[in-house]
Structure formats: C-alpha cells, structure tokens
C-alpha cells in the first residue's frame, strides 16, 4: 500500500522539472517559428555539412580513444600488481577537476600546431577519459573473482576470459562512461574555440554573437539536440535489457591480481605519460606563464590584482549560490522519487535528466532568448545566471541527493516516530544525519561544475562582472597567455581543492579498497 505524496512536495518537484523543460521547449518553439523552406535553406549549407562531419568525427574518435584508454587504465590499476597503483588511481580521476578549456589553453600555449583535429583529440581525451575510467574501475572492483576463476578452469586463458567474461560484465559501466564522453564532447565549447576547431557549439556561439537573438543559432541548436538525443537512444538500444546483476549473494573475496613481470615498468611509463599529458602539461604551463612577464606572450597584457580579486570573489559567490539553490531544488524531487515512486515522479526525473543530454550552450542560449523576450529585467542579472546554473546541474545533484535519501529508509523514520520523536525532530536527528553527507557531496559537485563552467557564464553574466572562467577565456582567446595564468592557477586550485574535499566526503569508495 502506498500513500499519496503531500501536495506541496509534488508541486515543488514539478517546479524543478518544469524549470528544466522550459529552455529546451523554448529552443524548439523558436526553431519552429521558421518556415520550412527557410529552415531547409539554413540547414542545407556546406558549412552545416562541415560542422556535422567535424562534430561527429571528433565525438566518435574521442569516445573510442577514451573507452580504450579508460578501460586499460582501470584494468591495470584494479587487476594487476602495478607499482604505486593507489597513486595512479588518484591521478586517473584527478583530470576531472581540470576543465578542458584550461588544458587546451595550456597545450595551445605550448604549441600552436595543436590547433587541429589531432590537438582537439588529444586535449579532449585527456579531459574526458576519467569518465570511462571511474565507472569501469568500480565495475572491476565489484566483479566476483569466482567468475574469472570459473572461466579459467573451463579452459579460457587470460585473454579469452577477459573477452568472454570480464568485458561483457563491464558493458554497462563502459557504455555509460562512453555516453558521458560523447555528450561531453558534443557540448564542449571553450576547448574547441581555443583549438580553432569548428563544431556545432562554436558555430552556434558565433551566430549568436553576430546575429544576437537570431533564429540561425536556435536551428543549429535544435540539430545538436537531435544528435545528442540520437546518442542517448543508441546507447539505450545497445545496452538493451541484458542482465548484469551479480547472481550470488554473500561475502566477496579479494580480487585476483595478475603479475606484470618485466612489463610492469613499461606500463608504469605509460601511466606516467598519461599523468604528464592530463595534469603535468596543464599545471606546468600555467606555472611557466605565471613566471613570465605579461609582455612575453603573443599578446602582451598585464594582470591587475584588483580584477583578479574580484573575479575570484564572483566565481566563488556564484558557485556557492548555485550549489545551495540547486541542492534545494532537487531535494523535493529526490524525496518524491524515493518515497512516492509513482509514474509521474519518474516523468519528472526523466525531464531533469534531459538537461544532461542537451549541451549547456544550447540551454544558456535559450535562457538568453527567454529573458530578452519575456523577462527583460532579469536579463544579465546575477539571479538569472544562478538559475541557469541550477537548470544545468540539477541532474548532477539529483543523482547524489536521491542516493542520500535512499540511506534514510522509511523504517528508520518510523522507528524514530515510535520512539516518541515528532516530524521535525525526526528530520533533524535521523534524516539529516543520514542524508547529510550526500547533500554535501551534491553541493560540492555543483560548486565544482559552476566554478569551471564557461558557456552559460559567458552568455549570461552581468556586464560588469568577470569570473575566473570568463577572464581566462577573454585572455586566452586573444593569446594573452601570461595574463591568463593567474586566473587559470586560481581556478585549477579551487577546483582541485573542492574535488579533494568531495573525495573526503564520499570516503574512499572512489579508490581501490583497503583489502587487496
């Protein structure tokens, strides 16, 4: 028997879902305002063909390289006696805290020859491979070693047991990771601009800048949304309804680890090279430009300490405000999903997750148009920017807030009520202590995402306000590499620090276990 959700809770959850649907619906509505002939003329251009090829090529190539790199790294860390594997595990996850537009700045300032397809592939692979590494490593850790042993006893060697048993088990994690990489590449904007690699996102931004509220941008945006949805549908189809849950119950043994023998130093060298490319070069180049006078770069420019201070403050301020608002907005929806999982609640959930499949630039653009047309006083206000952040990062927050409420089972709440606590006391003494770490993790994740966010900030930030991200973008797009360095150093520092905090909050679950 399931009771009905309180009306207020339901309404609050519906509000979050509507907030996300609004800009997406608006984009399609704008595009639909074109006549069919006009729209076809805009779409059937050689330029659009070139963009389509560029976008699809880079998305497919990055996804495949990330899949191979991430799986190989995860296998070596989790399944072999790799020297220093704890350290490599951290170094493989850390690039997540390094935004792609900062590493592209570092690489481009190292060599301008990287401004082509290969450069884009290099930078994006470095930025996105942890999205495959993390889920695959977790899946490898969770796999029952008896499966591999059974395969060995049934006549499979190392390689065939990997292909016939391990790989099929990794499928959901691998496909999920690849989906995130593909969507990330499709929405990437800052890195492509700096790398002079033209894709849908860079063109949408260019059309927006030249034509301002023109329809061309929203037509291209619609095309991009369709590509993203096609990727989602493809993943859903490939993953299919196959079953992967562990069949057995009960205690798990420590995993098998293979000896690498003489190979181990080659593998270590590979990991060192990976760490050098993902973290070493960006951090090194930022460090290098920090020591250079402003005149040393292609475009000379100097840094004013006052601007640096203000940019830092506004980045932190936006980050904190958005973290609070986003977490607040998903709490009713998460609670509804956990306690009253009706079909309607699932519909709300799906709408929120839609925001993950739609590029941030597209959502930001829609919010700009919405503001210009209907909410003029809000346009380029700090409030609207924070709301935009909330719309963009609600999927991120929803995942961990929902997991947090799962911890606070109704049984526990009922026990507390039976022991004489009223509802507010139960909330304070039972639910919040249980769900607190999850809420904190959600806020921290939103904070990191906001501080390193570029698209929406660029389009929606108030005219007189600069954040660290917009300042880096302004300086690097004019090749003022030395001027960008202090901002990049601060942004990377904040991001790494907050990620470290998040790690501490979530515990060691993200790293290889103590037993081994």
């Amino acid at each position: 028997m399931r009771s009905r959700a309180p009306r207020g809770l339901f309404a609050a959850a519906a509000l979050s879902a509507l907030l996300v649907l609004l800009p997406i619906a608006f984009t399609f509505w704008r595009a639909a305002s074109f006549g069919i002939g006009e729209a076809l003329d805009l779409i059937w251009r050689p330029l659009v063909g070139e963009l389509l090829i560029n976008t699809l090529l880079i998305a497919v190539a990055t996804t495949l390289v990330c899949a191979m790199l991430g799986t190989a790294a995860a296998w070596f860390v989790e399944r072999t006696h790799l020297p220093g594997r704890r350290a490599w595990a951290v170094l493989c996850a850390a690039p997540l805290a390094m935004p792609a537009f900062i590493s592209s700045y570092a690489w481009v300032s190292l060599s301008e020859n990287l401004q082509d397809f290969n450069g884009a592939l290099l930078v994006l692979t470095c930025a996105y491979f942890p999205l495959v590494y993390l889920p695959v490593a977790a899946a490898l850790r969770g796999m029952d070693p008896a499966l591999e042993e059974s395969a060995r006893a049934l006549g499979c060697n190392r390689w065939t047991s990997f292909v016939r048993v391990v790989l099929p088990q990794l499928r959901p994690a691998l496909l999920g990771g690849m989906l995130l990489v593909a969507l990330g590449v499709l929405s990437e904007f800052g890195a492509f601009t700096l790398l002079r690699f033209r894709t849908f996102t860079t063109q949408i931004y260019a059309e927006f800048r030249t034509g301002f509220d023109g329809g061309g941008a929203s037509l291209l945006a619609c095309l991009l949304i369709v590509i993203c949805l096609a990727v989602l549908a493809f993943e859903f189809r490939v993953r299919g309804a196959a079953r992967y849950e562990r069949v057995d119950r009960g205690a798990r043994r420590a995993v098998l680890r293979y000896e690498l023998g003489a190979w181990r130093w080659i593998v270590v060298a590979g990991f060192a090279l990976l760490a050098l490319a993902t973290l070493g070069v960006p951090l090194g180049m930022i460090g290098f430009w920090l020591t250079q006078p402003g005149a040393a770069a292609v475009t000379p420019a100097d840094v004013s300490p006052e601007l640096l201070w203000n940019a830092t403050l506004s980045s932190l301020g936006f980050g904190l405000a958005a973290a609070a608002l986003t977490t607040l907005l998903v709490v009713p929806l998460a609670f509804l999903l956990v306690r009253y999982p009706t079909r309607c609640a699932t519909l709300f959930e799906r709408s929120v997750f839609l925001a993950q499949g739609v590029p941030g630039l597209v959502i930001a653009l829609a919010i700009v148009s919405l503001a210009v047309h209907m909410l003029q006083p809000l346009y380029q206000s700090a409030t609207l920017l924070v709301v935009a952040y909330a719309i963009l990062f609600m999927p991120v927050a929803l995942v961990s807030v929902r997991a947090a409420f799962m911890q606070a089972q109704p049984r526990l709440e009922e026990t507390a009520r039976a022991l004489g606590l009223n509802w507010p006391q139960t909330l304070v003494r039972v639910i919040l202590p249980l769900a607190g770490p999850g809420l904190g993790a959600s806020a921290a994740m939103v904070f990191i995402s906001v501080v390193t966010e570029l698209n929406a900030t660029l389009l929606l930030s108030p005219l007189d306000t600069q954040t660290l991200a917009t300042q880096i973008w302004a300086d690097t797009s004019t090749m003022a590499f030395a001027a960008a360095a202090p901002y990049a150093a601060l942004l990377t520092g904040i991001s790494l620090l907050a990620s470290g905090l998040l790690f501490a909050l979530l515990g060691r679950s993200a790293l290889p276990g103590e037993r081994a």
Partner: protein, 354 residues
C-alpha cells in the same frame, strides 16, 4: 589407480605458512571430502590444485600428468579440471544453457552440445536452459554450476563449499542431487567443506586438514569411530571424554571396563582419556539387564528434545559424580530429575594423557 596425487605441498602467504607439506591421493571415480575448520587451509589447498595459486614446494599430478612442482606451474585452463565455486558464480550475462556450454569448443557451443543431457544429470528440467541465472534459486544455481563444470568432461572436479550458502532444507536436497550427478558421470571429485555431516555423508574418503596439516585420511566410518585426536573427535561429532586407564585392548573408566577399538600405542597401557559417542550410551528400560552385565545408575539433569532424538545430560551416581551426555531416541526421552540405568555399547577410542 590414483587420479590425483599430491606430494609435500607447501604454501605460505606473506611469510605465514598455511600448508605444511600435504601428501594425498584420490582414487579414480571416488569423491574425497576435504574437511577442516575455517582457517585450516582447505580452500588454499583447493586453489593450489586448481592452479589459481602457485605452490611454494611439492608436486601435484592429475591423471598421471604433473601440473605443479619443481618450478612447473600449468595454468588452470590446461589442467582439465572442473571447478564449482562457493556460490556457483554463474556468468550473469549468459543464459543457463550458454553457461553450461561455456567451456566447450566453439562449434559445440553453437550446437548447445549435451545441454539437455547435463541438465537432466543434475536433476533440472530441460527448459531451464533458456532461463537467466537470476531466475534460479540458490540450489538450482549450484546444480547448473556443476553441469557447467562437468560439460567438458574433466578428469577431476573440485567443489569449494558448494552448499554452504544454501538453507538447511535446500542443502540436503542439493547435496543428494550433486552426489548422484557426480556418481552418474563417474567423476573423480574433491569436495571442500567445514560441515562434518556433509563430509561424512558424501565422501568415499574424508581427509581432515587441521592447521595446515593433514591429520587423518580415512573412510567416514573410521574417521567417526577412531578420530586421531580429542579435538578432531569433538569436531566430527559430539564426544564424551572420560579419564581412565588402558590395559591392552580394554580401558577402565567411570563407565566400567570398555573394549578399545585399537590398542593404545606405543606401550599398550597407561593413563588415557576414553572417547565414546553419545549414541553409544543406552538407557535401559525398567527391568532390562545390561548385555555384558554392567549397568550404572544416573540422574537425568537436563534434556534437549529434538524430535527424532534427544540429548540427555546424566549425572553418574558413582563416587566422582561425573557428567556424561547420551543421545536417545525421541520416543524414549526421559524427564529431568528421573533416575535411570545406562550401559555402554560398542568400542571406544583412547587418547594418551601427558
């Protein structure tokens, strides 16, 4: 002829010796139960035989072919063994039939070679082949795991505590199905278990591993009647231990003169502990005379009634007031406080005292 021959097998982990020189052989077509308390090293021994771990010293021969020893380590996949892990470990991404044919060559996999036959062998209906492993109960999963291990016709089947995760009722049923499937396949098998009733009921022979050493290898009956140590006696069943004196093939204790199953080694006499099983103590009915004439008076102090039988604590009325436990049929269960007469039947075992 021996299917499995182990000589001087040793293994330590991080400097802690786990197995100290194991010697063991298993005859073709028989089932050896490897019994030991948890932490005795029995799973390590099994993993060495399967090739999942490398032995430090000693040798292993399977079907006359050396697979480990003197630096040689044949990988698991070339040992021609069948392995049934603790919880079945069926591949969750494959159907039951695909699980069963997993170890066969590609053409036979395509043809679903012998699936129906193997399902029948382990006592499952043929249509189970299309099911997903998640749709099976724990006991059914174990049976499929056995079918999967038997499919490539291995020379030796290893079972690692295959019934420990099943509940009591399912355990007995699955145990019988597995035993008859192994017998029907004519397989040579090694079953690792910490459950003495499982070892005694399934094993043609039982080898006991204690702190990394094989302390006794015997038929189930010999192991139960004449365990080599007091601790083992209590491990393989309930034991009544009484101080006494041995003289050749007789032992005298609070329960009188009793026949020894084997004379005391080395001297044949000395102070000993007498070990007998609770079911060897029989309560006499009113007016019934003991077969060899010695009956003892006792007071019933506690009764644990278990249905088919009952465990009765008895206080002997002789001078020392010794307590013994007897196992009596349930329908003859006495009441606490009742005075009874008892007699001992069968032979007893002696352990020298130091």
């Amino acid at each position: 002829m021996s299917e499995l021959r182990i000589r001087g097998l040793r293994k330590s982990f991080d400097g802690h010796p786990v197995l100290h020189g194991i010697d063991l052989s298993v005859e073709r077509g028989t089932l050896l139960a490897l019994l030991g308390p948890s932490g005795s090293g029995k799973t390590t021994l099994l993993r060495l035989l399967c090739g999942f771990e490398r032995a430090d010293a000693g040798s292993v021969e399977i079907d006359g072919r050396r697979v480990a020893g003197d630096g040689l380590h044949v990988p698991s996949e070339q040992r021609r063994i069948g392995y049934v892990p603790q919880e079945g470990a069926l591949f969750p991404h494959l159907s039951v039939a695909d699980n069963i044919v997993f170890g066969l060559p590609r053409t036979q996999r395509r043809a679903r070679h012998r699936v129906a036959e193997l399902l029948e062998l382990v006592g499952l209906p043929a249509h189970f082949g299309e099911r997903a492993p998640q749709q099976l109960s724990g006991g059914q999963q174990q049976r499929v795991a056995l079918a999967r291990a038997l499919a490539p016709a291995p020379t030796l089947v290893m079972l690692d505590e295959p019934f420990s995760s099943l509940d009591a009722a399912l355990r007995v049923e699955t145990r019988q199905a597995v035993a008859s499937a192994l017998a029907a396949a004519g397989a040579t098998a090694v079953l690792v278990t910490h459950d003495q009733s499982e070892a005694l009921s399934l094993g043609h022979e039982v080898a006991v591993l204690w702190n990394g050493r094989l302390i006794q290898t015997a038929t189930p009956e010999a192991l139960y009647r004449r365990p080599v140590t007091r601790e083992l006696a209590s491990f393989v069943g309930e034991a009544v231990l009484l101080p006494g004196v041995a003289r050749q093939d007789r032992a005298s204790c609070e329960l009188g003169e009793l026949a020894l199953a084997a004379p005391l080694v080395p001297s044949g006499h000395g102070t000993i502990d007498v070990m007998l099983r609770p079911e060897q103590i029989r309560l006499l009915r009113a007016g019934e005379a003991a077969r060899d004439g010695t009956a003892h008076d006792a007071l019933v102090t506690e009764v644990i009634f278990q249905g088919q039988d009952a465990s009765v604590a008895l206080q002997l009325q002789s001078a020392t007031r010794t307590m013994v436990r007897a196992r009596v049929p349930g329908y003859l269960c006495p009441q606490p406080g009742e005075r009874v007469r008892l007699t001992v039947e069968g032979e007893v075992t002696a352990y020298p005292r130091d």
